[in-house]
């Protein structure tokens, strides 16, 4: 087991790391230049497609543009993350 000593002593994150994290996130949104209307459009299209196959909780459906590590781990890339609670899978979809 590798013990990370710095973690033992550092109770909270450096404020500069917090700043970097927040900045990166806010820039993804700024640079992507997507409006809330755009996200709403994407959301309603997704709902349309998915409801053909399953019953979902439309009110708790959440879509966000965020960022994630790229597959090769070399950098950070924008990602569309959707949280879609499924109530029931329609039998015709199986």
């Amino acid at each position: 087991m590798i013990l990370d000593l710095s973690k033992l002593f550092k109770k909270t994150k450096n404020s500069k790391d917090v700043a970097k994290e927040r900045l990166k996130l806010v820039l993804i949104h700024d640079r992507a230049n997507v409006s809330p209307q755009f996200l709403e459009m994407v959301k309603s299209e997704i709902i349309k497609v998915i409801t053909n196959y399953m019953e979902i909780d439309e009110d708790s459906l959440d879509i966000q543009l965020t960022r994630t590590k790229s597959d090769d781990g070399s950098g950070v890339v924008p990602a569309l993350v959707a949280n879609i609670p499924i109530k029931n899978v329609k039998s015709s979809g199986r």
Partner: protein
């Protein structure tokens, strides 16, 4: 043929006017012919930072509206040979000028001066559009704070959309003691995030406030670290290759002690 450089930032209060005053003075001290244009119409500032507020007769709006010749409106700085100021109008608004007029003005000045530095107002509206219209290149000023870097990113995007490619970044008000203890983003962090070239780093320095009080740019103060940083930046603008300042002199006591004792301080 002179070069027109716009100094811009998006966010207000990050040091555009301070930068224009200091770099302009620095270029003049290097023997260049320099005009500083204040395009912050309605909120003129550059005149007081330079200590030239009592000498204004005509302003930029008078020039573009043809009330006077450009030469008549230029205030010659008697302390620094080759330095001139074209002040903003104080009682008009940003719409008193349009980008087309700015391009004409810049083209006229370019004939006779080596550098035309444009002090841009905060924001991304008309004043910004005027300020960048006639520029050949851009310097983006930021401070190591989330809001300022975010605005810088937006400005960089807008500059590129307006054919002002490869803007150079100036990071102002850096405190190495805070960077060392992890409470301020480092230059590398900022460059990494914005993905632009670095023009220079200016430390936070109380001498800037003192020099602004007196109307004498800090670049003339040999003891000011910020002044030294601005001298280096002025030289880089003329194409010289000047290494970055060692801001470590500014670092905290513990760091200095560790350095003295030969401990690694990363």
């Amino acid at each position: 043929m002179g070069e027109v450089i716009v100094i811009t930032s998006g966010k207000g209060g990050v040091g555009k006017t301070t930068t224009v005053a200091n770099i302009g003075t620095g270029l003049a001290l290097m023997g260049k012919k320099v005009v500083l244009i204040d395009t912050d119409i309605g909120l003129r500032n550059l005149d007081v930072v330079l200590g030239l507020e009592n000498r204004i007769v005509y302003d930029i709006v008078d020039v573009v509206e043809g009330f006077c010749r450009t030469k008549q409106a230029l205030i010659k700085d008697k302390r620094f040979e080759g330095l001139f100021l074209l002040p903003a109008a104080q009682t008009r608004d940003k719409n008193a000028i349009n980008p087309h007029q700015m391009i004409q003005l810049c083209n006229e000045l370019r004939e006779e001066y080596d550098y035309i530095l444009i002090d841009c107002p905060a924001g991304i509206e008309q004043g910004f559009k005027n300020a960048i219209a006639g520029a050949d290149r851009a310097i983006v000023v930021t401070t190591p704070e989330v809001s300022a870097v975010r605005d810088a990113d937006r400005i960089i995007g807008l500059l590129e959309a307006n054919e002002l490619r490869n803007p150079k970044l100036l990071v102002n008000r850096v405190r190495m003691d805070m960077v060392k203890r992890g409470d301020m983003m480092s230059i590398d962090d900022i460059i990494d995030i914005l993905a632009v070239d670095l023009l220079g780093v200016v430390p936070d320095d109380e001498k800037i406030v003192i020099s602004t009080n007196r109307g004498e740019p800090a670049i003339t103060d040999s003891k000011s670290v910020a002044g030294q940083a601005f001298r280096n930046i002025a030289r880089r603008i003329t194409g010289e290759n000047v290494p970055l300042l060692d801001l470590e002199a500014d670092a905290g006591f513990v760091h200095k002690l560790k350095k003295l004792l030969g401990l690694k301080t990363s």
